[in-house]
């Protein structure tokens, strides 16, 4: 075949090889489910392997107690009832085994809430320098892991706590991003989110609640 003829043939290939429109939505559904959904559950699986199995159950108990106590209903919450019953329960051995678990989780939750509040409060109004941004971003990344652990734990079944954790996740993602991207508008956005969602006062409330359960 002559070179010229071959060029004609090859130039016609794009028409002959005309491809169908890509099923963008269908493909994205699969990608999103495979990456982002599994990503959310991964830390839980990892953490569940590394911590004692009772920790997740203890999360519900302790936060339930804490949040239950803070509810202004004047009535004893189910969690309070179970907590008040537990010390006089019929199986002291079980109670002795559960207490360290509860204390361990309570310490972690309290520490998490305190650290998150401290981070948000100390966040400067405007970027200072790359080093301080990296410090904040690194801390936010660490707290983000804990946040997602809590979000996937039974503790997040409580709608009040879940709402707080979701807002915290959003804020912490924004702060973690400062490591690679720093500008005034991002910091403004973070502060705006914190203010609009009343994050700090809700954090303080949750921290006090958790501490009062100790």
């Amino acid at each position: 075949m002559e070179e010229e003829r071959l060029d004609q043939v090859l130039s016609a290939l794009p028409r002959d090889f005309n491809d169908p429109p890509p099923p963008l939505e269908e493909m994205w559904t699969v990608i999103e489910a495979a990456h982002f959904n599994s990503r959310a559950s991964t830390p839980v699986k990892t953490r569940n392997r590394s911590l004692a199995p009772w920790l997740a159950a203890a999360a519900t108990l302790v936060l339930g107690i804490g949040i239950g106590r803070s509810l202004p209903t004047g009535e004893e919450s189910p969690a309070q009832r179970s907590a008040s019953v537990a010390p006089t329960g019929e199986d002291p051995a079980t109670r002795e085994d559960a207490s360290p678990a509860v204390d361990a989780y309570r310490d972690q939750a309290s520490q998490y809430l305190g650290q998150t509040a401290a981070l948000l409060i100390s966040l400067p109004a405007a970027g200072e320098d790359d080093q301080s941004d990296a410090r904040f971003a690194g801390k936010a990344s660490d707290l983000l892991v804990t946040t997602r652990l809590l979000m996937d734990s039974p503790a997040a079944q409580d709608p009040k706590l879940r709402g707080l954790l979701e807002d915290l996740e959003l804020v912490l993602v924004q702060i973690a991003r400062l490591r690679v991207e720093r500008n005034r508008s991002d910091l403004d956005l973070i502060h705006q989110t914190v203010e609009q969602a009343d994050v700090i006062s809700r954090l303080n409330s949750a921290a006090v609640t958790t501490q009062s359960a100790e």
Partner: protein, 175 residues
Amino acid sequence: MNEAQLIARVIAGDRLAGRALYDTHAPRVYSLAYRLSGDAEKAREVTQDTFIRAFSRLSQFRGDAAFGTWLHRIVLTVVSNTRRIDHRFGREVALDEANAIEVKVPEPDPDLKDCIARAVDRLSEAYRTTLIMHDIEGYTHAEIAGILGVPEGTSKSRLSAARAQLRQDLAAFRE
């Protein structure tokens, strides 16, 4: 927001940023996957696999090359692996589908078209990939070189060799 910022957001778990990256690159990724695999269903699987792999390895992306280049390398790897696994890959199906879609285009000699399809399939993987990317998808030699990780001259010589082999295979149609 630039691509580096989007990538950082995806690493942080931002699915909207992931969608933005996907929207930017998916059509071209799918198109290349379709050309190379010759099958719409395979192209869909390759595209999905490419983005899933890319997102899971984003933290390893150093930005030495453009994100699109890095992504296309993954496409080629996925297609190559798939071709090794699935021996049923062929261009005939794709060409039949193309006929059904592009009805307004004057019908070329069907025998010639079959011959082209077979000739393209007979090319080595390196030649076929280069030919499809350059002559069909419209990539430049610089882009191909970046994606394949070879010098630009290698891309040119591969294209030249691929065309020579095609010319030889299509000699029966010499006018």
